[in-house]
Each structure stands twice: as structure tokens, then as C-alpha cells.
Amino acid sequence: MIRAADVTVGDTLPPLTLHITRADLVRYAGASLDFNPIHWNERFAQEVGLPGVIAHGMLTMGMAIRIVTAWTGNPGAVVEYGVRFGRPVPVPDNAEGALVEVTAKVAKLLDDGTFKIALTAAYEGKSVLGGATARVRLP
């Protein structure tokens, strides 16, 4: 587990590449109890004007924070995490799924001793999570 003494503002976290597949959407729907058909029914998604089935914003959010938890080694170190849901992530019906690239860097050491981490998540080069930040408390 990383310690506060090892961290410098400006440090970049190891990047994370997500492949979000239709199977991931089904699994997340079951785990989160969010059964909105835009996340599993192609016909319904198109009827409401979407290009097709899209990922739950909460799934992209929940997967993206792994860039921080993998770095801290302790998911309980994340004391705050927030995002804006930007453009949707369409998930094609194939094995590779939607490719989302996640980056993060240490933005600030706050007065309460926590570090502010700024995250980005991009699909086809465009941001899908706006203003994503986490605060972590390290030993």
C-alpha cells in the first residue's frame, strides 16, 4: 500500500484501459439493481434516440475509480469520489466492447491531509466523465 510520504503533487498514476462489454452491463444491472432497458435492450435504446445500448454512467464511474484503488492498494482510502456524467458510452455487441481510457494524477494536498486526485475517462478520444475527482487518505 502506498504511503503519503511516497506521494508528490503532480505524480501520474499508472493508466487504466477498460473494455466495457454487453456482459459487463448485464452483470452490473444485476449487481446494482438498475434495470433501465437502455443498458440492455437495443430496440428500446434506439426508440429513445440513442445510437444503441449504452453503459450505465455508474458502471463507468465504478470501473474508473480502479485506477485509484489499484494505486492505493486499499479501496477504503477513497474518502470522496465524484463525477459529472458527460456523453454516453455506446457498447457494441462484440467481444471487445467499448474501450475507455482512464488517467489520473495527484492534483493537490489538502489541508485535512487528504490528496485530491483528478481523473479523466475518454471514449474515442472524448471525455465521458466530467470533473472527476477523488480524495484519498493515505497512511
Partner: protein
């Protein structure tokens, strides 16, 4: 139709308790691809200083979204839930959620705005144990797309 501004500051009564289980935590961790043993193995969790396995950072959505339904479905507020999308979401953890927690949620309406034809409701779900220990504050905005169009330009 613009939403009733008198709902700003309203607090809904506490939800029924949500009982957090090890299995649900494991299932949620699997669903977001979080591999940490601290979500799965009580011994690994104890070694990291926790009483039992802890939940991933976004697990609280299970508890907060359910509780927010009281507001979304409140006919007096008149939010068109068929047009509601999730605008943003923030979790502030006063401590990690852990297995065996019995969590209750009090839902607060912090703000109601109209912007570009959308009704935007800022909701705060205060999640605590039944004994009143603060666990997580979940803030979200719910955006009803196009529902404020009738009043646009009149503000």
C-alpha cells in the same frame, strides 16, 4: 412545467434499513471489476484495519438511488421520471460501508433549478447506521430533460 420550488429544503422520512451483506459486496466488486481481497476476504479486511469486508467506493448507489425513489416518484413534486437522467454523483465516505451494516437513508432536496429547458433537482442522501453513525453522504443531480421548456425565457 416548472417544478414546485417549495420542495427546496424538504426532507423525506428515513428509509427502511438496508442490510449490507458480504455476498452483495462481492457481487458489486465483481461487477465493477475491482479485484481487491478487502471486498471479499474478512481476514484481508482485518489486516487492513477493518472489522469486516468493506464495500467499493460506489456501492452506496444501491442504497441512495433506492431511497431517492421517494422523491422521483412523489406525485406532488411532479418530476417526469421517464425523462430523468443522472447528471452527476458524488460520494463522501465518513467511513467505508462494511458487511453487517444496517443503513438508513434520509433524502434531502437541496436545490431545484431550470436550465436550458431541463428541470434539475439536487438531492442529498445522508446514509447512516440505524444507531445514527454517519457513514456516507451521496449527492446527485437528477435532470428531467426538456420538461422545463414551457417556462423557458420567462424567468
Amino acid at each position: 412545467m416548472a417544478l414546485d420550488q417549495s420542495f427546496i429544503g424538504r426532507t423525506y422520512p428515513p428509509s427502511p434499513a438496508y442490510e449490507v451483506s458480504r455476498e452483495k459486496i462481492r457481487e458489486f466488486a465483481d461487477a465493477v471489476g475491482e479485484p481487491s481481497e478487502i471486498h471479499r476476504d474478512p481476514e484481508a479486511a482485518k489486516a487492513a484495519g477493518y472489522a469486516d469486508v468493506i464495500a467499493p467506493p460506489t456501492f452506496a448507489i444501491l442504497v441512495s438511488m433506492k431511497a431517492n425513489e421517494v422523491l422521483v416518484m412523489d406525485p406532488e413534486l411532479g418530476l417526469d421520471y421517464t425523462r430523468v437522467v443522472h447528471g452527476d454523483q458524488t460520494f463522501t465516505h465518513h467511513r467505508p460501508i462494511q458487511a453487517d451494516d444496517r443503513l438508513v437513508v434520509t433524502t434531502h432536496v437541496d436545490a431545484i433549478n431550470s436550465r436550458m429547458g431541463n428541470d434539475i433537482v439536487s438531492v442529498r442522501a445522508e446514509i447512516s447506521t440505524e444507531q445514527g453513525e454517519a457513514v456516507t453522504t451521496a449527492r446527485s443531480t437528477l435532470v428531467a430533460r426538456g420538461t422545463a421548456a414551457a417556462t423557458e425565457g420567462q424567468a
